[in-house]
């Protein structure tokens, strides 16, 4: 039997593994963002750090229903968490840096 053109025709598990690694990268990115935020904002940083295992777990969660339909909720976890991080970042940008930056902003 000749080898298939695409090695994944013989082993589709490679795509699955790449996807698992992509989920791992994404959760590591959350961990890095949370650690970076901790420097200036304790509470938002902790919230983002807490999202890290959540995102990783979403990646490990069964990606398909038994009938083969993807479950969009797992991806919504990521979207909602990134949006939450953005909201925290905006709040931190305006309030977190102490009253000076806010006062400076309003005086212009």
């Amino acid at each position: 039997m000749a080898l298939p053109d695409d090695p994944e025709d013989a082993d589709p598990g490679l795509a699955r593994e790449r996807t698992r690694l992509a989920w791992a990268r994404t959760s590591i990115a959350f961990a890095a963002v949370g650690a970076a935020m901790l420097r200036k904002e304790l509470i938002p940083g902790l919230i983002v750090l807490a999202a890290t295992p959540l995102v990783y777990a979403a990646g490990r969660f069964a990606s398909h229903t038994p009938r083969g339909r993807p479950r969009p909720r797992r991806l919504l976890v990521v979207t909602v968490t990134v949006t939450l991080v953005a909201a925290l970042a905006v709040v931190a940008a305006f309030l977190g840096h102490g009253p000076t930056s806010l006062r400076q902003l309003l005086h212009v």
Binding site: D9, V33, S63, G68, V82, A93
Partner: protein, 157 residues
């Protein structure tokens, strides 16, 4: 042996039943992708694509979300870690907050496009073109121009 007329109509009905369905070789080997029952009887029916296409779509979504996170962190870093621009007290917010908002926008758009792509693959039609590269390029250009403006104003004061 069937006569030519019957064979022809049979082939036609079969062709219309699965219009351009993405039937990759080895699809039946992939675990977790059972063929949707009854999909080949109804014309224009929705069939789950090969698991590999679904997985690639998911990876694209995740990659855009990491991009979104990077934009948010860049924006937050500009606001909180940069020293203030002399003479331009609003400069850091003007540069950082759009990046953070863009990050949230990219995350939401990535989800919408993931869903659109999944529906297109399920129907076997062309995958719609992504608007994310344009959004990203336009906003980054805007932020670059704004940075130049802030730096100029700061230098002239």
């Amino acid at each position: 042996m069937t006569d030519s007329g019957d064979g022809h109509s049979d082939r036609e009905s079969r062709a219309s039943a699965a219009p351009g369905a993405p039937a990759a070789p080895g699809a039946q080997d992939a675990p977790g992708t059972p063929a949707a029952p009854g999909a080949q009887d109804a014309p224009g029916a929705e069939t789950e694509p090969d698991a590999r296409f679904t997985l690639a779509n998911e990876r694209t979504f995740l990659a855009w979300n990491r991009t979104a996170l990077a934009l948010i962190v860049a924006g937050l870093g500009i606001v909180q870690l940069l020293p203030p621009f002399p003479g331009v007290p609003w400069g850091r917010h003007a540069l950082g907050v759009p990046l953070i908002v863009l990050g949230a926008g990219v995350a939401v758009t990535a989800y919408v496009e993931w869903q659109r792509t999944q529906v297109a693959m399920r129907r076997g039609v062309a995958i719609p073109r992504s608007v994310l590269p344009q959004i990203l390029a336009a906003t980054i250009t805007g932020v670059a121009v704004l940075s130049a403006a802030v730096l100029l104003v700061s230098a002239l004061r």
